[in-house]
Amino acid sequence: MTRLLRSTSVRLALGYAFLFILSSALLGGFLWWRTTGYLDRAVEDVIVADTRAIGDRLRDFGLAGAVEVVNARVRRVGDERAIYLLTDPRKNPVTGNLAAWPTDVADRPGWYQASLVRDGTRRLTRILYVQLPNNFRLLVGRDVEDREALRELVVNALAWAAAAAIGLAILGGFLVRRAALARIEVINRTASEIVTGDLARRLPTHRAPGDEFDQLAVIINGMLDQIQQLVEGLQSTSHAIAHDLRTPLAELRGRLESLLRRRPHSEAAFEEVQDAVADVDRVIEIFNALLRLAEIDSGLRRSGFSRVDIRTVAEEAAELYRPIIEERGASLALEAPESLGLEGDPFLIAQAIGNLLDNAAKVAPPESAVTLSVSRRDTQIEIAVSDRGPGIPDEEKPRVTERFFRGDAARNTVGSGLGLSLVAAVARLHGGSLVLEDNDPGLRARLLLPAA
């Protein structure tokens, strides 16, 4: 539900529906006020004027004057819906067209709504009860049965209108949402196709000036053109480097190897050449690692993503690296209780885990345990390698994933200084991250990748 509310199109639709209902309610309220509310106020004004007139008569001419006015009012033709009752302090009728004090009217002066039987029918009547001088009591009322019928009519009409408004609001919201979604959906689909490696895709645009979505599409397409140029430039550069550098390296290595096969006469020369071959091999190794990093960072590897079971990958990596860890007298524990799936490149994830295990193997003290664990952390899958080696000081942690950076502790071990860079690049490619923590003592490297 919260996820649904986070969608802009849903919020847009709900906002639309809310505004529509709000304006309908305002309109309905106004109509109500102008019809039944107006009638109410008119009736009450008449009643109040009547009671004032009768009260004035009583004050000026005494009881007889009041009785005369009431009788005159009752007799008035065409005003059969008017109710008058003047009583003495003990509620005994003095004059008026009501036989007795109505049960619906209490002892306190004020407005009452009473149901009175007159001419054999029960009529709803609005009554004002006022206290006159000398404790005389006066009731003045008007039949409001007709107004009640009108009120019902208006309420019904408004209820129907409200229902229709809500229905229209929902439909309108849905249409607004669909119209916006359709445009956004195109952008989404194209963007994800591009992310998976199809750099040639573009958003559709209309030739005319177009709306805001069109303008957005034009801007995004411009950005895509630039990205495509950059990636293609990177690719052709790395292909050129690959070809232009690999060939002379192959020649160099070949010459040195032929020298070895010819067996130089002095043993010292033979060893020199052998060391030179080893040097060339290190250059080749670093060169390959750099090209691989460039390949990963270009994002093109995403086109090879498939469903990967991380437990299987971890099991195989553990199996491959266990012997070199055991050769140091340390042990490797694998904690992978369940199979966990994600969309990714199985070879790259295997290499990333391999690099982490390789680092651990280089620093693990004898008798210590290296742990490889795979677990689920909310929406992510965590692959963690922990060792009991010297760890990485806090000030070096942010730098160890930089290319060629080698910490003080690693200065004397074998390696290119690209191992953790590759792990970080693999994490980035998958939309995840690499977190390095203290294992107290040792290092805990956590590779976090989004779960499928």
Binding site: H243, G254, N355
Partner: protein, 227 residues
């Protein structure tokens, strides 16, 4: 064996040719794609070593596709300066049998070529492999040496099977990584050496004559002959 080398770089071609001749192979060399395709389709070779990027109108992949289309099944080893995984997969999909990235060690090339030649000569499916007094029953998944049962983990079994299939020839570490572990990248350390030494503990240590030999700078060889 008769080998065709299609490679435009003169020095690399020279160095490969020299090495292969020293190993006793007969070699033809073509320096461009057109000549390469002509030789490959007109002569009978035991294997072809083919550079991927070639002048002469047709590149390595084009030659492979053309040969395979006409039913030519000669084993092909692709050499390439392109190391990306996709390139490798494309090369193998086109019909290549193995893929080696430049720069390479000659030992690696020779070992892979020998493996290709060995594979193409194998006729029927074997069920029992034997090297000296070491025997492997592939159906019962059972290994004995001098009649004594040897208990192997599944991966050790696979490793030994590969070494036995290519007995008496050099097998490199990357060949083992690719074929036994299906890993197509260079682990930074020699993880393979540790696996080999564990295997040695089981198949060689209790016996007088070692079968599993280390070839310096190349890899390993399983052989009953005295090294």
């Amino acid at each position: 064996m008769k080998i065709l080398l299609v490679e435009d770089n003169e020095r690399v071609a020279e160095f490969v040719a020299k090495g292969l001749k020293e190993s006793g192979h007969v070699l033809d060399h073509a320096a461009n794609g057109r000549d390469g395709l002509f030789l490959a389709s007109s002569e009978n070779y035991d294997a072809i070593i083919l550079d991927r990027m070639l002048p002469g109108g047709i590149d390595g992949l084009g030659i492979i596709e053309a040969l395979r289309k006409t039913g030519n099944r000669t084993p092909i080893l692709i050499l390439s300066a392109l190391a990306e995984v996709d390139d490798r997969i494309r090369g193998l999909k086109a019909g290549g049998d193995d893929y080696l990235t430049k720069p390479f060690a000659f030992g690696e090339l020779a070992a892979r070529l020998d493996a290709l030649l060995r594979r193409s000569q194998r006729v029927e499916a074997e069920t029992v492999l034997a090297v000296g007094d070491l025997r492997m029953d592939l159906l019962a998944r059972h290994v004995t040496r001098a009649g004594k049962a040897i208990d192997l983990q599944p991966r050790e079994f696979k490793l030994l099977e590969f070494l036995m299939r290519y007995a008496d020839q050099a097998v490199t570490r990357t060949m083992l990584l690719e074929n036994v572990w299906d890993y197509h990248f260079d682990p930074q350390t020699n993880v393979i050496d540790a696996h080999i030494s564990k295997l040695r503990q089981k198949i060689d240590a209790p016996f007088e004559r070692p079968l599993l030999h280390t070839l310096r700078g190349v890899g390993y060889k399983l052989s009953a002959a005295q090294a």
